[in-house]
């Protein structure tokens, strides 16, 4: 699998460590009333779709950036690659 890194260009996926569903970017608010329930969902439950899946890949053997990648779990076709920091900022986060 080749991942087209936004800064470094096409890289072998073996350089990366898979970090799971990109929903993990959206950590629940720990002060919310139902924080406990939200964290159980966040920690343990997954959509696990057969089809497009948005997920985190960590470029461990490269520039150590986190990427948000949309990949089809039935074909491994990658349709989008973004820097996770850009995605997080796009959602109004500081980093």
């Amino acid at each position: 699998m080749i991942i087209n890194h936004p800064i470094l260009g096409p890289r072998d996926s073996a350089e990366f460590t898979y970090m799971g569903d990109a929903a993990l970017l959206d950590r629940p608010d720990w002060q919310a009333k139902d924080a406990l329930l939200q964290f159980i969902d966040y920690g343990y439950l997954r959509d696990n779709p057969a089809g497009p899946h948005t997920e985190l890949w960590y470029h461990e053997q490269g520039d150590r950036s986190f990427l948000v990648i949309t990949r089809d779990t039935t074909t491994h076709e990658i349709s989008s690659v973004k820097l996770a920091s850009d995605v997080a900022r796009g959602r109004g986060r500081s980093k």
Binding site: M1, S13, A14, G43, R46, T75
Partner: protein, 405 residues
């Protein structure tokens, strides 16, 4: 029809005209008492034990493809009960005991071969961990044997115990472990279930659930609607995508695991060996092929094929302990979709939807669990209480922080 040696001789002398299909090709009825989704090992075993242990009637197993085409027909066939935790070990030991009597019970040759499994030790810390595990196994009534390098040399003279890259310092053996012919397990359970009146319906994919006021009434399938008093999901790697149709999110990710088999060789490997300094395990099939595997590919996948980096990694493991395999040709490699649970343990439980039950999360080790999984799932379905060996396999363990049991 019962199978026996006499029967084989009689059929051989009469032109093999007397054999019947191993199971009926059933057409779906309108309504069943128990509807098991998924004709893998676990689904077929569940149906069989529902009929045999609980005298249940009107049972069907529905399978989207052909039975045995899923993981039960793709795995590396290793059975063992060398688990550590109290929540697991009695369950897996029950399973191993069921394997030991399976062929008599089913009247089917599943080629159960208790050739032994050896987990190699390469460091002091690993020996400590395996000593602890062996003791836990013995406490739960299983067998365990901490082998010295001398013992290992006797049984496996080709293992390098002197100057290998990862020196072998001993091993934990379970001599009752071994291998079972994988598809014969599916066929044997299918035949035995069929003989007890279970409908096995192939080419019938579940497309959705009919759920009204929090109760599951049946399933929509590619062959029409089928009603059921109890619906039992048992689809292993497809759990995520099936249960999504009931709007359930699971503590499970689907991942691909690859397996490999070489050309046939003369008998060189009498038992099952696992490498302790990398992820690699292997055995030799009765046809002579070396069957081996290693790590998951490591990312969510519903594609039943893997990628090359893991092939390389697995073959490196092979070369580290069996350099003699270097010139053997690989015959086939394939992948299966694993239902990886968040804590590595399975789930056999009711769902929050009435009459809808769930069995899954077997990770890469559910083949050995097949008999006990069917046994305990049938118990749950028939009695609405968890079987004593499966009380830890509940959905709520994650919320309760009990997922270390």
């Amino acid at each position: 029809m019962r199978y026996s040696g006499l029967r084989v001789i009689k059929e051989a002398l009469t032109g093999h005209k007397g054999w019947k299909p191993t199971w009926r090709d059933a057409t779906p009825q309108n309504h069943y008492d128990f509807l098991v989704i998924g004709g893998g090992g676990h689904g077929l075993a569940t149906a069989y034990y529902l009929a045999r242990n609980h005298g249940a009637k009107k049972i069907a197993v529905i399978e989207k493809g052909w039975i045995g085409g899923g993981n039960v027909g793709r795995n590396t066939t290793i059975v063992r009960s060398n688990y550590l935790l109290d929540g697991n070990e009695p369950f897996y030991e029950h399973s191993l005991k069921l394997w030991e009597g399976l062929e008599q019970d089913l009247n089917y040759n599943a080629m159960v071969s208790q050739r032994g499994i050896l987990n190699l030790v390469h460091s002091d810390a690993q020996r400590d961990a395996f000593t602890r595990r062996g003791n836990a196994m013995i406490l739960n009534g299983a067998d365990a044997d901490l082998m010295s390098t001398k013992d290992i040399q006797k049984r496996y003279p080709f293992l390098n115990v002197t100057d290998a890259r990862f020196p072998i310092k001993g091993g934990l053996a379970q001599h009752r472990g071994g291998t079972v012919r994988h598809d014969a397990v599916a066929w044997g359970y299918a035949r035995a279930a069929d003989q007890l009146g279970v409908d096995i319906i192939q080419n019938c994919e579940v497309l959705g659930f009919r759920i009204e006021s929090g109760k599951c009434l049946g399933v929509e399938t590619s062959r029409g609607y089928i009603g059921a008093s109890k619906v039992a999901s048992c689809v292993a790697g497809s759990s995520g995508r099936l249960m999504a149709k009931a709007e359930m999110r699971l503590p499970i990710e689907s991942h691909v695991l690859q397996a490999f088999v070489t050309e046939g060789l003369k008998p060189i490997l009498p038992g099952v060996i696992t490498f302790g300094a990398g992820h690699f395990y292997c055995s030799q099939s009765d046809k002579g092929g070396i069957v081996f595997g290693g790590d998951l590919d490591g990312y969510n996948s519903y594609a039943q094929r893997g990628n090359l980096p893991v092939v390389e990694d697995v073959c490196e493991g092979a070369m580290a302990i069996f350099p003699m395999l270097g010139r053997v040709r690989l015959l086939r490699m394939w992948g299966g979709i694993m239902d990886m649970s968040m804590d590595g343990s399975p789930i056999i439980d009711q769902t929050h939807i009435d009459s809808l039950y769930f069995n899954g999360g077997w990770c890469y080790g559910g083949f050995k669990a097949t008999p006990a999984s069917g046994w305990c799932y049938a118990h749950l379905l028939a009695t609405d209480t968890p079987h004593e060996f499966a009380t830890a396999f509940r959905f709520d363990r994650f919320a309760k922080g009990q997922n270390d049991r």
